[in-house]
Each structure stands twice: as C-alpha cells, then as structure tokens.
C-alpha cells in the first residue's frame, strides 16, 4: 500500500528504522492475539466436537458429532437459527429503508455544518452504551411505558399494545442499536457518486425519483450491500437486545448459548451453538469485505 521509497527514481538507502525489519513492533500484539484470542477460540471450537458431559468444562478428547446432531435434530434449535436469521434480515431491511435517506442527506447536503452535526449525532448514538439506550426504549415501549400510557390517555386503545417482550420489541431494539452502522456504511458510498451525473439527468428532464431509482441507488449498491451485511452480522450476534427487549420470550442463538452454559452447564453443546453462530456471522462478514472491496474499486 505505502510505497516506502516515495516513488523516487533512485531508491535511497533506507534508514534502519524504515527497513522491513520492524517485526519487534508487532510481536507483542501478535502474542497477545495468539494467546488470548486464537488459542481460546480454537479450543472452544474443538470442544464442540467433544463428547457432551454436563458440568464438565475441561477438554476430554472424545470425538463425537453428538452436539451438532442435537442442534439439527431438535426443532427448538433450528427454530432458533431461523429466528435469528429472520430477525437479522428484517432488521437489515428496516435499517436500510430508514437509514438511506439520512445517509443521503449527510452525504449530499451543501451546508457543511449540517453534515458535521448529523454525523456527530450518529457517531455518538452509536458509541453510547447499548444498555443505556435500551433503558430508554424500555421506558418508552413497555406496557406502562410512555407510548402505551399516552395512547390509553388519548382513548385510542383501552388495552396496552404489545410493543415489548416480543419480536416487535426485539426488532425495534436491534434497529436502534445497528442503524448507525448502516448510515455510516452508506455515507461513503453515496458521497463517491459524482453529483454531476444526477444533475445531468435532472437537467435532461428526469424526475427526482427517476434519478434516484436509476442513478443514485444503483451506484450506491456497494455501500448498501456492505451496510446490510454488517447490520445482519451484528443483529444475529446480539445477546443483550433479545434478552432485554424480548424478555426471554424471543429465543435467539446467543440466548441459547448463554442458557445452555449458565443455566444447564452444557459446555460442549454451548460451544457447538457458538461455533454455528460464528460461522453464520463470519459468512456475512466475508461477503461484507467483498462488498467493501467493490465499493473501493468501483469509485467514479
């Protein structure tokens, strides 16, 4: 990526600091990742092929497919897989629909101040502790929450609407948490579209919507793919949102992992569910990286 010689015709002799012999700089980080990331994660995956022994946490070395057979032979678990995937896809769709206009405004506004302000709002809402934001949502959406008490006071409904502790609540919670990632993925890609293209089409008589549909949207597709996959991967791996907004009634894969381990002590089985969750989100992330590459390569 960076050309160290700076493109000068006669390669200068590099000072030792700039020479490729810089490994000592990265060794601490590599050791850290190796010891505290690769080894733990790989041994977790290995233990998912170990014979199931409730309460037994150490590695026994009895190879077996039992844990995976169990996942796919009980409707409980593949329902959870489907629920996770379905929720992730819905959340990605909703985020795209409501995130695109905001990203478009940030990317296209002529007032630099507005763009900066909006970006800071999106960034800080992304960085704020999720649990705090969920507190706000729960106060808003509960049976005795602001929305329901308001609706009842206005006489619109007599019974509180079931907004929380069900899939609706989980979807709203996940959208709240992942929307900033969608918006940030889209901004870069919309910004890289040359506005002259849109202006040309407009001046030739196309309607605003026609321009949007035939020029802006197709050219921002790399950002759309990237944002959608990122949101999908984040949504299926979230534990705290389904736990709080679903109230243990919407059982997704991460909830299963926690329950199997914390409540039943089935370590190997929990590890198998974790492996499955990781593979699903890795697959989405791999597609995300491909989309990003295209995004960077397809700039006009």
């Amino acid at each position: 990526m960076t050309d160290l010689t700076g493109g000068s015709p006669t390669p200068r002799q590099r000072p030792s600091w700039l020479s490729p012999n810089l490994w000592w700089l990265v060794i601490p980080a590599i050791l850290f990742i190796l010891l505290f990331f690769l080894i733990p994660v790989l041994s977790l995956f290995a233990s998912s092929f170990d014979k199931a022994m409730p309460g037994q946490i150490t590695f026994q070395g009895n190879f077996s497919w039992n844990n995976y057979e169990r996942i796919f032979s009980r409707s409980l678990y593949y329902t959870a897989i489907w629920r996770s995937v379905w929720l992730g896809a819905t959340v990605a769709g909703v985020c795209l629909v409501i995130g695109y206009p905001l990203a478009f405004i940030i990317a296209r506004t002529f007032r630099a101040g507005t763009a900066t302000l909006l970006t800071i709002l999106v960034l800080s809402s992304m960085q704020l502790d999720m649990v705090i934001r969920l507190y706000g949502l729960m106060v808003l959406m509960g049976d005795k929450g602001l929305i329901n008490t308001g609706l009842i006071a206005l006489g619109i409904t007599s019974e509180p609407l079931p907004l929380m502790y069900n899939e609706v609540g989980v979807i709203v919670g996940l959208v709240q948490v992942t929307l900033p990632f969608m918006v940030l993925s889209l901004i870069g890609s919309i910004r890289s579209i040359n506005p002259a293209l849109e202006e040309a089409a407009r001046s030739l008589g196309s309607s605003r919507w026609h321009v949007m549909r035939t020029i802006t949207w197709p050219l921002s597709l790399p950002g759309i793919y990237a944002g959608t996959l990122l949101v999908f991967a984040l949504a299926i791996s979230s534990y705290v949102v389904p736990a709080l907004m679903g109230g243990w009634k919407v059982i997704t894969l991460p909830i299963h992992i926690y329950q199997q381990i914390a409540e039943v002590g089935r370590w190997q089985f929990g590890a198998a569910v974790a492996t499955l969750l990781f593979l699903t989100s890795l697959f989405a992330m791999a597609l995300y990286v491909v989309a990003l590459r295209r995004n960077a390569g397809g700039r006009v």
Binding site: A29, L128, T149
Partner: protein, 268 residues
Amino acid sequence: MDDINPIPFTFRIIAVVALMVLLVPVLIVVLAGLNSGEYLTFPPEGFSLRWIENFFTSPTFLPAFKLSFGLALATTIISTILGTLASIFLTRSTSKAREILRGLFFLPVVLPGVVLGLALYVFFIWSDVGLARSLAGLIIGHVLVTMPFVIATVTASLVDFDLSVEEAARSLGATPFQAFWKVTLPLITPGISAGSIFAFIVSFGQFELTLFLSTPDLQTLPLAIYSSLRYAFEPTAAAAGIFAICLVTVSTLISTRLSNLKKLLSRR
C-alpha cells in the same frame, strides 16, 4: 445548485424518523434520571435531582461507574501501546504477512461478543492461572475488542504521513529513535489520541463480553444497569446513564476534532 439536486421531501421525513429512533431513547434516559417520580410519565411530574443524589450514594451504581472507568482506562493504555506499535509495522513493513496480520487483528470484533466471552471464560478456567473471574481477565478481554479500533485510527493517520520529514531528520543526524520520537510521534499524536478515546468508549460500554467474565463483585456499569432493567426499573440507573451520556458525548466531540471526520467516512 439547490433546485437541481434538492433532497426529496419524503427523504427529509424518513431521516427525521431515523434520527428520532437514534436519539429519543437517549433523551428518555435523561428525562427519567431528572424526573421526580418513580416512573416516567407524560408529561413528567417535575424536575428533581433526587436520583442524581441517589447515584452518588448508591452501593451498586457508583462503584460500577468507577470500575467501568478504571477498567476502560487500563484497557485504553494497553491497547493504545500494543495497537500503535502494530500500526507502525502494518504501514511500514514490506512483509507479505501484513495483510494476514491486519485481518487477524480485526477478527476479535467480527466474532460475536457472546462467543468470545465464552471462549475466554473457558480458557481462563482451563489455564488455571487465576485469570478466571478476575479484573486482569476482564482487561484482557477488553483489550482484544478495543485494539482493532486503535489500529484502524492510527493506521489511517500513518498512511497519510509524509515519510520524507522523518528521513530529513535522519539525514540531519538524528538516530532512528530520535527521529521517530521527536518528529513522527508528535505529528501522529492526534490519530493516536482519537484511537485511544475510541478504545475508551468501546471498553466503557462493553456488555456481552463482560457478561461472561465478570463476577457479582466485579460489576461494570452496563452490567449494573442491565440487572436493574431485568428486575426493577430504578431511576438511579438512568441518573448513572446521564453521566455516561455526558462522558461519551464529550469524547466523541474530542475524537472527531482530532481525527479528520471526512477521511474516516470516505473510503480510499
């Protein structure tokens, strides 16, 4: 220009909805923390600092806030040092392994938090060197998920760095270390600071990893708020939330000042 490419009206409406989805929950937390009643009703019952005062005497939330702060600070220091050194390697080495390493360093944020938390927990118990359910174990987990943010930010500021400045210092007789310490480092300091603030915020709000690694006497702020949401809605939690909101807003403002916002958003 404005009439050639105006923003469609529908877009403005939906954008307002999106902003409300993002900001209303935060606003609610602030209102709940400053409301005088036990439950937030509409209209609010009245303004009171009662929950804020409660927060300062609370046996759960104040220690949790302090623990989160200290944990984030320790995490930030370690991951800034490791991440900055690694970034220098990633931008300057010509080694082929660079791309693989870059991918490796980003893996911990790709892995779902629950999976990483479980893996670390099991590993700490297996290895049996006292890391299980300890502060050190928590710090290790947090460093894993914050280092990618440091690397991303510092790498971005190093890529744009003009190496000839450092070479000039070298040719004037500075040792490699002097050249780096006195010339390069001050120039990339904004990038490093932005990266470390980023790391701090990520660690401060980290929940899913902490869930597996903490114990009842190692309650971070997100965990304390989480358990109060499961069992009882305490407005004191909202008051604690207000302080976290201030902390995060200020940090975001500083870090966007330090790092070029446009550069982060437009991909190269």
